[in-house]
Symmetry: C2
Subunit: 214 residues, 2 copies
């Protein structure tokens, strides 16, 4: 534990400590995948002992889920579809979502790591808060889409919002192949990139939901 740090006791001290831990997590995520970042490195980066980080967060996983929650909310705050031409409404919505997510690799990385890595080691108490906030964010995305596609039911818009998470989770790991895999993929006929895969699948999902509405 570095000499400059004392245990934070006042609420504003606790908040400053939490903010510093979250900032260190974001820094490390810019350097490598979340699965490769240990609690020890996170603590080291912020100048605290591991046990001290755990005074402010449940677990390493809880730190990253907090970063995810903030990035997801920031993305929604900025998400706007602009003027949509009627003839290509579904494409434009899907492309806007795909392009703005592709600009946020940290968010895509965390969405993709959410179930397989991050949700494996959190307490019931933290899971409760996180799942409620995640459900609210999904509901917000569903409402934004439904404002543009009013013929969708609330449930169909919710299905679409959940599908965004599934498609990003499934497509993101293919976004950064090793050199060998990239070369072999190109030789075997190639594969569309992350943004194209997300845009294509979300267009089809939305067109399908519109076609199937009752």
């Amino acid at each position: 534990m570095s000499a400059g740090f004392q245990r934070a006791r006042r609420p504003e001290q606790i908040e400053a400590r939490r903010t510093a831990i979250l900032a260190a997590a974001r820094e490390l995520l810019a350097e490598r995948p979340v699965a490769d970042i240990s609690l020890r490195e996170l603590a080291c980066r912020v100048g605290l002992a591991k046990s001290n980080v755990l005074r402010y967060f449940d677990s390493r996983e809880a730190v990253f889920l907090e970063v995810l929650d903030t990035a997801w909310t920031a993305w929604l705050d900025e998400l706007a579809f602009g003027e949509l031409p009627a003839f290509a409404r579904e494409e434009r919505i899907a492309e806007t979502i795909a392009a703005t997510l592709a600009e946020r690799p940290l968010l895509c990385e965390l969405i993709s790591a959410m179930a397989p890595v991050l949700e494996r080691n959190i307490s019931l108490e933290f899971a409760r808060g996180f799942k409620l906030r995640a459900a609210a964010n999904l509901e917000r995305l569903a409402s934004l889409v439904r404002a543009e596609v009013p013929e969708l039911s609330a449930e169909a818009a919710r299905v679409f919002a959940r599908a965004v998470v599934v498609v990003v989770s499934g497509a993101w790991p293919y976004a950064n192949p090793t050199e060998a895999v990239a070369l072999a993929t190109a030789e075997a006929g190639g594969a569309p990139g992350f943004e194209a895969v997300v845009a294509e699948n979300l267009t089809n999902l939305l067109a399908g939901l519109v076609a199937r509405r009752r």
Copy 2:
């Protein structure tokens, strides 16, 4: 290295050794996630030294990708859509794919681990062979679907086949939540299970591709 094993030299001995390693990999996969299985454990289960396993396979990852290739081919060998009622053709195709995949957790686990875990540590030579076989399996799935939905273009059927991989990869990690996450999810309004998520999304994708055909 156990006393009973000598270095295999004849083709049929090499093949027997490879078969034993693949069988041990399948056994271990029935016990825990692929990310938690080391080359050491794999070697131990089959009674070989680590270095000896690497005579027959490039890497631990190459072993699991071979298991994936075999499971994926076996699934396609059995995939049949039966008599499809015209009014619910897309649903039936999607539900058949979802139900038969849900019966094969080993295949779903390996599809889901393919990009984030398994393709990280393979040689160019192995990647070339694997990607060609994967492309052939995708083409086979596309053809099976196109036989039922002949109005799809070959490219649209290929988009659907690739989407099956993306949706399974994205949805599978949510299939086995921890107790805390399962409880918190239920309290936050619940979420559909793996088979339902795959069926719903594949139905919408297929209906969207049909609606958007030119």
